[in-house]
Amino acid sequence: MATSLTGVQSQAIGLSKDAFDVFCHDISGMFGVGMECKQQENTAETVSSLTERFKKLAAVNSVKAEGAMDGTFQLIFDQEGLLILSGIIVMLPSTNILQRIKRGTVTDIDGMTDAIKEVGNMLVGSWDKVFREGLEKHGHFVQTDTFIGNPWDDPQEKIGLGEDGEFLFIPYQITIDSYPAFNCGVIFPGAVFDKTQTEEKIRAEVRAKLEAEAAEKAGLEAEEKTEAEEKPDLEAEMKAAIEAEERARIEAEMKAEAEAKMKAEAETETKSKALAERKAETEKKAEAEAEAATDIKADDAGTTASEDAAEPQQSETPESTEGTEAAEDAEPAEDAEPAAGAVSETIQKMVESPAGLPGEHFQISLATCAKDIMQTDVLWGNADDSVQQATEKMQQADVGHMLVGTEGLLDGIVSRSDIASAVSVYLKPMFAKWRRPTDDATLQIRIKWIMTRPVQTIKPDTSLAEILKNMRQSGVRCLPVVDQQDKVVGSVTVFDIFAALLSGDSGTSTAGKTPQAPPLE
């Protein structure tokens, strides 16, 4: 094959290596992973030989080229590659990615199509960048389609490759961190080089051999050289990146701790003043409440105050994922236990009578109601979703609750802690050693069996004080907001309330997204 390569073809082969390298570099930079890419010998392939190479599912990105290269070519990832890369870009934990590779089911891939397409999109971006710099008369590359599945039963229809055609295939092997190495590559149908070939017909044919040989030799030498030079650099870079990340994490942890402490102190002070000032009123109220809700256990004021202080911090600190999970695990049955209250009495009082408080920390309008603080972007799922699917949806959307129903009408609601209490505790990485198949089976429990229903809802004009009272009495942390026809128009979570309390600008519309749960890191 090498002997019949034209100038553009051999250039394209050289640049494809750079393009995959740049892609690896870009993904490393964006997601903090170590990536290594090895080019393997290019070959002439047919659909049947490609079928042998990519036996399982594959992601095939069709790329339209204009300019020196003209037509459509394909960038392909094997099943492991598409699971690893998509998992990394949506920041799934590595244990989760490894499980997916092991299982390799269609369901594992179904939930990730958007991410897989974006991987392809970024890959095409890297390719376009490299070819723009390296290939004369390069127009552009545009990702026109991403096929995910088994393309080989109808390659013409599915990925635009003719069954009897012969293609130039350049295989690559990519290794990311400690994940298994996976295969990918570029498929160049001869037609993408046709235009230039015709233009340069005679000249090209005469010079091609010499050029190809020279380019290949130079390419090999350069490759050896860069590989030798790059290795220590890369290692040093990775080490520095890891150190920097660790430092940032520790700093953030310290800051969060200090802030939580300050806030807890401030709240205690605020509370004692408020209590002193309004002792009689508080007592009266407490009595009334105790009577009204005899089934609710008495609120331990000390505990709730410190919980409330810690919660918004967790939501604002990306590094505290583990902490939150631990906290959620510690109280798996929060919804069933109002005593472990979602909203403290203190905060409710602040909202009810803000004017009487030393208000440098908290300013909130009495007129604030659900529509001012609600999130309009709510996550919906199906009653037949598995616990695992629901978890993934919630992780991807970065929310703590998922609404269940159709056409805006609610059948139920499910929270992360509903899920935490439904799945086996042995699925946690720390218990991996003792994990049994029955534990995995709990991931397949359907949402309809664990969701809460009927769902407590509020109206857009429900006041903040009402919302807090409702949350405190019922112990739920998320209240869907419904209109006159009972259609969901948004939701209010405790995080939205904290955000409103802390920002003090709840009078204005805050469609901005409050962190609902820690980022997926």
Binding site: I27, D114, D128, K129, Q143, Q396, A511, G512
Partner: protein, 124 residues
Amino acid sequence: MAKTLLIVDDSATMRKIVMRTVKMSGLDFDKTEEAGNGVEALEKLVAGPVDIMLCDVNMPEMSGTELVKEVRKLPDCESTKIIMVSTESSQELIDGVMADGANGFITKPFTPEKFQEKLSPFMN
């Protein structure tokens, strides 16, 4: 003064990545909103203009380049800085969209440093 940000991209995954990268770049936004297409973006801008809009180019129905033209017709969005985010980076595309009123261009894949570099001039 803290700024407001609108991220427009048809891919939910990419919006999350952009948001995460903005956070990592250390730029501080008071409020961050998302829109999954051009129409949704326009609705949000009419409801309340933002300081900076990060806009995908390749979107179904209304493309990012069309969206820029529409945004520039909105009277309240004259001072909104529009930064395009695209995998395609031909000079032709960049020149065209800048002439239509975009203020910057970031190519995908991107790094936090790139966001820092391209957005910080508009943060004051």
